[in-house]
Symmetry: C3
Subunit: 174 residues, 3 copies
């Protein structure tokens, strides 16, 4: 398929959203650069990162970028960029500085808007559980919700993945 300029893949935890995004990237037939936002800070994250890595084609180029994704998008390698995921990027920004978040989000959105190669962004739905008792968790889910709205507004194709099954929310498969 011909990838649009920006594709957003939404889904819950273990919904199959990363796998679906990887299929899209493979089916584009162009070379893939995988931008990984996760850092292996503990055993659980290491196990999760390794599991994801093993599910991806070995010839993909992987770049680990916990924070400055915008810089990559401004001078992208040829092919398609698969950013997995906006939620971990947001979490990394949160841990660094909650107040600097708005600026960083604007930078990311601007870089996505002007990126010269197609981009696929994976992001989490986190807002349909019960209100968290923890105030940082409440702030985070607000920020994640607004980021998803902003990403969806500029994406040509938005797909929600539920139990591995894609539902097109905006645009259509070419």
């Amino acid at each position: 398929m011909v990838l649009p300029k920006l594709t957003l893949i939404l889904g819950g935890a273990a919904s199959g959203k990363s796998h679906f995004a990887e299929r899209l990237a493979i089916d584009s037939g162009i070379s893939v650069t995988y931008v990984a936002t996760a850092e292996a800070k503990d055993a659980e994250m290491r196990e999760r990162i390794d599991r994801h890595r093993h599910s991806r084609p070995k010839h993909w180029r992987t770049i680990e970028v916990p924070l400055d994704v915008a810089a990559i998008l401004q001078k992208p390698p040829k092919g398609v960029i698969l950013l997995d995921c906006a939620t971990v990027w947001l979490s990394n920004q949160f841990l660094r500085s909650e107040t600097g978040l708005v600026t960083e989000k604007d930078r990311l959105l601007e870089a996505l808007n002007t990126c010269s190669v197609p981009v696929i962004v994976v992001s989490n739905e986190v807002g349909t559980g019960i209100v968290p008792t923890n105030s940082v968790a409440r702030s985070f889910r607000e920020a994640q919700g607004r980021l998803n709205i902003d990403l969806a507004a500029i994406a040509e194709l938005v797909v929600l993945v539920v139990a591995g099954l894609p539902q097109v929310l905006k645009g259509e498969f070419a």
Copy 2:
């Protein structure tokens, strides 16, 4: 657009559901009474209420009704009523009396059914996270789920908002 008698707008936290409901009310071309259920009991709620207020047209009439929404619906002002939101209303009822909830819900549903002007109700999806450890939170999400089912059953139009994008679950845009 011509508003049906009852419209239900569902979505998670920061999903864009309130914004979408406001667009519906504006596009109806008739005067809007905004029924706000939230009370500013702390700084976080005050900030949230102010943010919502600034996003709404200034000429809208706003009524703050934490509990007795049914009374407003029984003698409504002309135009359309935008009730934002059923989740905070339910939470207010919960805090007052969990046992009186069934009666209050029946009153609300009856008032919605017989209201002489169109009503748009905003409500939260809270049931697709992990089971809460807190038993009150478990009761609340059960009650919210059942309220959404009851509202959806009597609404002509039901829309689920995900990342700002509407998905029609019942009825259609006129």
Copy 3:
């Protein structure tokens, strides 16, 4: 309607998924065996089980099977089997042995694949809240997400229920 070999009904807590699955079973016109996975270990569960039981037709046969659902599917009674639900089954397996889970899941999927009567499986969406702080809860939602993906992959019909309203994610109503 003519039931497919395997139907998966997904939804959040109190979304109306069990009620919808029961309607499907009734509308099939064939005799129903209800496989209940929940055990009444405390008052809250007893109340919930009783409420579900009272909503079902009295002539249905009910079998309580907290763990070995595969054995029932291998020698099924005539008619349709309604399994409610995969989430409680998964939770029961988790409590017994997290390490034995993969084997038990493979047994279940194999038994569903080869079952000689139509089966309707109810399962929960638990992955779209905030990341749980509890590591067992995180493991559980991963396992539930993957189980839903696996069930959806072999089901002919997959329906997501939101506020009592069905959305077909895969296949179609016959």
